[in-house]
Symmetry: C3
């Protein structure tokens, strides 16, 4: 895994901007998880819940946050340990450079433009009037439809489908099997059956977006479905037609956004979360895993449950519904005691009292 590279801890500390606590001449030759790291590996502790695992680890060194306790091996302390981890991983696993050129078994239309610095793999199809810009990597089995445009340094993994006229921004990464620009799901009822509404719009994926494996982003009826700059989308996510996802949002696996909904900037959808159609979520709305937004949520903050409610309220419901059996018992008890009192007070009420 370490590709034969070796670094002294001194060199690593310098490269990561980290403070070294330990022998600067010690050498590591790989990065490994806490559990499987050996004395020749550096490991990392970016999440406090793994402190016990770090203490039990045989790693030769650790990357840790500032202020983390000492461990049994040298530690590199970083102010932003996750950013330092990115650098650490890239040192041991540098990105492969793109081999430019079109594979002889690719099918590129004569009316398409492929920049000479781009790479197009075997069995890729680039249709007429498509544009593939500088530094793009098109893996095998990728389909780039007519008039589609792929921005500089984008990467389309095997089996990605980019349908006609879809625009993909710079440095966008699309994982295998993702489908950009399939028809939106729109029909007009007509005498008991449904007639298809042509979906003649497009899809715009802005710069620095990442799209997960087998995710689907539908083209708009007219106009564009839009994913704004910097947003990261996980696997098996559904983005329906006419949706707008704001910049720097996070959409976890199997979440879905139904037609014409709008997410603000910095939105977060947990795994399997859902947003109903024609719903607007404000900037910074966080929908927990499995939550369902069935109406607008203007205010940022964390929401959970189905229907989605502010987290504090939603959690209280979860706690109280678990106490429903007890609540029912208490009500039954109240009913019994009240019954008894009613009887007693009836017995001791004026007419009865007189008869005593």
């Amino acid at each position: 895994m370490g590709d034969g590279v070796r670094f002294t801890l001194r060199a690593l500390a310098d490269a990561l901007g980290a403070t070294l606590d330990g022998d600067p001449a010690a050498v590591v030759s790989g990065v490994a998880p806490l559990e499987s790291a050996g004395p020749e590996d550096i490991s990392f502790l970016t999440d406090g819940r793994y402190l016990a695992a770090a203490r039990a680890s045989r790693a030769g060194a650790f990357l840790v946050p500032d202020g983390a306790p000492s461990l049994s091996a040298p530690v590199l302390r970083a102010t932003a340990p996750r950013l330092a981890l990115i650098r650490l991983l890239r040192l041991f696993h540098p990105e492969e450079s793109v081999r430019p050129g079109i594979h002889p078994r690719a099918a590129v239309a004569v009316e398409a433009y492929v920049d000479p610095s781009a790479s197009v793999g075997a069995f890729a199809v680039i249709e007429a009037n498509a544009v593939v810009r500088a530094g793009v990597q098109v893996f095998p089995f990728v389909y780039v439809g007519a008039g589609a445009e792929i921005g500089e340094d984008a990467r389309l993994y095997p089996h990605v489908v980019v349908l006609d006229r879809v625009r993909v921004g710079r440095r966008v990464i699309v994982h295998p099997g993702a489908v950009l620009g399939a028809d939106g799901f729109g029909y007009a009822p007509d005498a008991g059956t449904y007639r298809k509404i042509p979906q003649v719009g497009g899809v715009v994926i802005e710069d620095d977006v990442e799209i997960g494996a087998n995710t689907t982003i539908d083209r708009s009826t007219i106009g564009d479905t839009v994913i704004r700059r910097g947003t990261k989308i996980d696997n098996l996510v559904q983005i329906a037609h006419n949706v707008l996802v704001g910049a720097d949002s996070i959409i976890a696996a199997q979440a879905g956004v139904a037609g014409s909904s709008r997410l603000g900037s910095g939105a977060v959808l947990g795994g399997q979360a859902g947003v109903a159609d024609h719903v607007t979520l404000g900037d910074g709305v966080v929908l927990a895993a499995g939550a369902g937004a069935i109406g607008d949520i203007p205010e940022g903050g964390r929401y959970l449950g189905f229907p989605a409610r502010p987290a504090f309220e939603g959690k209280r419901i979860w706690i109280l519904e678990a106490r429903l059996p007890e609540l029912v018992r208490r009500v039954r008890d109240l009913e019994r005691r009240l019954e008894a009192i009613e009887q007693r007070t009836r017995e001791s009420s004026p007419p009865d009292r007189e008869s005593r």
Copy 2:
């Protein structure tokens, strides 16, 4: 977007069967959404909730429902505005005609039949004894398995997989990445492990069905998994083995139907809805987004929640669970007050009274 075509409002009104309120000689050259339409575009208002957007729109004309209010530009009023919209979009975006023929880089088995009017794209595979009928469009990277049959004028988008012996009806549209006929998920427990039950049945997709991107429809154990005529299925939907989906149903994205379940005609599953295995839903059952049918629902109507309940009942639960904190407070209050009364009545009960 308008492909260079232009129409007078008079011509459009005639073509759509709409009543024109405005200058019949005015010309439009494209269809655009309310927000981005300019004076050269016609836009549309098929949903009342966008009236404010229509009033703010700069569109040169509008397609609206009968009875809609006047707007700042000419309006075409249609009795069935969504059907009129279909015609409008097709006028400006006519379907491209199919170029018949087999691409030289397709791999078609000699024992397969491909109608001369069908189109088979680059890197498509048609296995032995498969039949591809007149007018079918097979896009690149489509796999048509041995003995499969694709009906007249069907369209298989890039990366569609139709496994052996699956039958696809006429005018069926299958979006990229959909998989028809993978093995159903069936195992027999055997001493702590699972042994695969061969899935030797098929899949039948009837006429006019549409199947979304990356949707999966499994083959039956024996017999057929069946999707009846006219049903529309969105992206990332799971239809398990031995399922029957009735005619003219709508299944939204990420919904799932487990093994051996049956949906009636005109069923609707909202996004991320689920139907458990061996469940029967009657004609016209509507499962809201995220709802889960874990038992039979014979009666048509709208159901929501997990487990799915009649909409009225389900909504009442959502309202009341939000009031649980208040209910708990009321019960606590009752307990305190009752306690006080019990004490008082105990004090004032006959033995005590006498002692007073």
Copy 3:
């Protein structure tokens, strides 16, 4: 369907180890579902809920469990009827033998190793240093990345993507469109945007695992995402990076397991079930369809609902939340009655009594 094969009931009983109740010389030529079977077919009743259908069936014979009642045609009684069904289906539908060899239109890197007994279909891509072992079936459009390894007798259906360095065990079956080894979803926040954490780990699929269509299993950040021996995964399932799924587990369609979670052996996730990140489920934990495990569940057993709770508790909540309207009424009634008593006891309390 029967491929021209015919068996006497005597021969079938012998092959299945079943007891025959009926004419041993009778002949059947196919296996069919209860509803569509004719006198020339054998059908089966492995699930008691279909007894009525079996009674109405026109099948010429039935495979049934020991102790099942007699039917209108001969029955073969088996102690393990589902295992007998496997044998029955294989008798009528034997597996096709693999035609070894590399299709001339496949693209196999010179630095790859493909065993001579393996089969590689048209338009398959095997990258450098990949290893494809004996008896493997690689269907068209499969991508096997650099350094990946496919174990003996594994089967990769059309459009399967196995990215670089992923290891697939023996007899593993991967259905169309599944993606093994896409990047895990990991980012470091950096001044309002997200920076990608390189995902340099791998995926290990152990022997006898089956993976459904369009399912995604992400590579680990470092180390491996692991699916242990014998586990069966359905369609459209998401397994995130750094996850460990124990042996002989069952994961139904559209379920998802978030990053770094661990499932024990013999776990079962129902359809659309979810496991949050960094969660541990013990051996034998069964999450019902749609359930969501948001925290550790050490103890085996059945759990349901969101958040997942022990089945008994979860079902009680479902029942009691349906009775919330009644509970609210009872509390309101208590309040009214208590109010009345409070008034009466206030009236009859010592000071008042004196005033009477």
